[in-house]
């Protein structure tokens, strides 16, 4: 049994102009202690997937259907009260915006201690002592002083460290990090990624890393789920995915990453882009979701939605023309 099993997750929102299918039939699993990256463009449904796991989607207008099992327990069937015991305790979450994700009128120590008081019944003094330890753990200097400070007295990187301290305070089994480094300077990004990797080793939590940054994925993930227009289009271990992307969308994503210094060594090629826009999620899409932007799309693609198939061991892709054996993109074009 995997730690987290998501099956046919559908998160829809009722809006005045119709139903938006933000997540439409996504399934994946996360093993204990594993780091899984969920990648895709803005609006592909990766954040909504993450929020759905903790049931942080306001219902209504949202509606979550399908199945989310955590440690074998169906989360979608739990009461709000039972869900609260899981949030911040067994599953916790880090958000993209460290500048605005901390409450400006409460001290950081109080905010770290709050989860401990809620979930572990610690009293005020014990919670503060533990908050100081957590600050130390996430590498904040002078933790005994910082614990009494307010978020506005800390830099962006420090605030994200505090967010991580809050998330890890109760030793969760699963940490969902939604673009944890996107809002930070590059040098700070590296520090935060190092910190997350280091803490993961110590705490043993599984991580679901939501990102659009393939550099970050290559750096920390073990397995990758690629999402597009609310669906999973490809899933593979990180090595095969980067070496042998099966889905044209994944190939497009990898092709649009600039290579550092390539213009100096003369190996520079024009950065490829994926033409067009993510289709509207308000209509049901017939055929392949990526067909409207895919250079290789045929009538078959536009009519029949491709099933997610194992193209190689552990490597799933939803494309009619993705090769079954590891021959990569060239073979696909030939097909």
């Amino acid at each position: 049994m995997a730690l987290l099993e998501i099956e046919n997750l559908q998160t829809h929102f009722r809006t005045p102009d119709g139903i938006v299918r933000a997540v439409d039939g996504v399934s994946f699993q996360v093993e204990a202690g594993e780091t899984l990256a969920v990648v895709g463009e803005s609006g592909c449904g990766k954040s909504v997937t993450a929020m759905s796991v903790l049931r942080l989607i306001p219902e209504p207008p949202g509606k979550i259907a399908g199945s989310i099992r955590f440690n074998g327990r169906e989360l979608l069937g739990l009461s709000e009260r039972e869900m609260r015991d899981i949030r911040g305790n067994e599953i916790s979450m880090i958000f993209q915006e460290p500048m605005t994700s901390l409450n400006p009128v409460l001290t950081v120590g109080w905010q770290i201690g709050e989860t401990l008081r809620l979930h572990q019944g610690l009293d005020k003094r014990a919670a503060e002592a533990r908050a100081i330890e957590m600050l130390q753990l996430v590498g904040i200097p002078e933790p005994a002083r910082r614990v009494r400070e307010y978020p506005h007295q800390l830099s962006g990187g420090m605030r994200q460290r505090v967010m991580i301290a809050i998330a890890l305070a109760c030793n969760p089994k699963l940490l969902i990090a939604d673009e944890p480094t996107t809002a930070l300077d590059v040098t700070i990004q590296a520090q935060i990624l190092d910190l997350m990797r280091d803490l993961k080793r110590r705490v043993g939590a599984a991580i679901v890393l939501i990102t659009h940054d393939l550099g970050v994925v290559a750096e920390v993930a073990e397995r990758v789920v690629v999402m597009y227009a609310g669906r999973k289009v490809e899933e593979a271990p990180v090595g095969p995915l980067f070496r042998n992307p099966r889905h044209p969308y994944t190939q497009g994503l990898l092709g649009s990453v600039p290579k550092l210094g390539s213009s100096l060594t003369g190996t520079a090629t024009r950065l490829s882009e994926i033409p067009g826009l993510v289709p509207s999620l308000k209509q049901r899409i017939e055929g392949c979701v990526f067909a409207s932007r895919c250079a290789h799309a045929t009538d078959l693609c536009r009519k029949v939605a491709p099933a997610l198939e194992a193209k190689a061991p552990g490597h799933l892709a939803a494309c009619h023309y993705a090769p079954r054996e590891s021959r990569g993109a060239a073979a696909m074009v030939a097909a």
């Binding site: 942080l56 949030r87 911040g88 409450n103 967010m163």
Partner: protein
């Protein structure tokens, strides 16, 4: 911080000076002659003139203002033209009922209005929200005396639950004291409640959209903790500001409320003084009210620093 408080207290002096000049000038321009009122219907013009001279009302404007200001600076609010009692004594006799009414109204209004606004924001768009908003519109648009007479009629005359009017001193027991203040406090508080509830709702709606509210939810904080701690503490500054500004509403409303419920407070004293053209009393009471208002708003500026650590003076 202390320097700031000292500066702010010093800054009240020019404010009070302007208020003093304004009050004095207004009464100078206003029609009516206290000498004629005191002399009565039977008096001859010579009698009135004599009284006017004895009160010093025949002296020029600036001389009178200067003399009055000098007295105030020495802590002397003057003597009532009508009763010959020192104004400060008259105020001291009447201050307890007014202060009681205002404090009870303030506590009642804040403890009703803030939860109302919070719940309305939480349940935005539902029946509860619409009821709160409808009540707020009603509270704004129905005058204090209408609410007052209505309450007195229903709860005092018809149901006989509470006294119709009057005031019992705090020294005669908490129960009777409060009993007499319930209806006046509701009448006086209705506009105030409407004002605070609306601001609370609007500010809370904004705060509930913030990222840190999502963080709190992700931590497993319950609905009550989200609303009354994480959100309300962030919404507190505008709410407290309105509570402070609303003190002016209470002062104005107290005059009417005290008349409706026959409470022998400063409001009644003011009305009587105006009817008798008792200048020193009017001036004394208005000065006192403006001083209270300035002090309350200073206190509120200081409360900001407790509510929001980003505000420092």
């Amino acid at each position: 911080m202390y320097a700031y408080v000292a500066r702010r207290i010093l800054a009240t002096i020019p404010v009070m000076a302007v208020v003093a000049l304004f009050v004095f000038s207004l009464l100078y321009i206003a029609p009516g002659d206290p000498a004629a009122v005191i002399a009565g219907d039977q008096a001859t013009p010579e009698d009135v003139e004599r009284i006017r001279q004895s009160l010093g009302l025949d002296r020029p404007y600036l001389v009178r203002f200067g003399a009055w200001l000098w007295d105030i600076l020495r802590g002397d609010l003057g003597v009532s033209i009508f009763t010959n009692l020192p104004v400060s004594t008259m105020i001291a006799q009447r201050i307890e009922p007014t202060l009681s009414l205002m404090v009870v109204t303030l506590l009642f209004a804040v403890s009703v209005a803030v939860p109302m606004g919070v719940v309305a924001a939480w349940k935005q768009g539902t029946l509860i929200d619409r009821m709160v908003m409808a009540f707020a519109v009603l509270g704004f648009s129905v005058p204090v005396f209408v609410v007052g007479y209505l309450l007195a009629y229903v709860f005092a005359l018809e149901l006989d639950w509470l006294p119709v009017q009057g005031y019992t001193s705090f020294r005669e027991g908490f129960g009777p004291w409060l009993e007499n203040l319930v209806l006046p406090a509701i009448a006086l508080g209705s506009v105030y409640i409407a004002l605070i509830a609306r601001i609370t709702r609007a500010t809370m709606l904004e705060v509930l959209q913030q990222d840190y509210i999502r963080t709190a939810r992700a931590k497993g904080v319950g609905q009550r903790g989200i609303l009354f701690l994480h959100a309300l503490k962030n919404a507190a500054v505008p709410i407290v500001t309105v509570i402070g500004i609303g003190i002016a509403l209470l002062i104005g409303g107290a005059v009417v409320t005290e008349s409706v419920f026959a409470i022998p407070g400063l409001g009644r004293l003011t009305v009587d003084a105006i009817l008798r053209r008792d200048y020193p009393v009017i001036q004394g009471v208005v000065l006192l009210f403006s001083f209270v208002y300035v002090l309350v708003n200073l206190a509120i500026d200081l409360i900001y620093t407790l509510l929001d650590p980003r505000i420092r003076y």
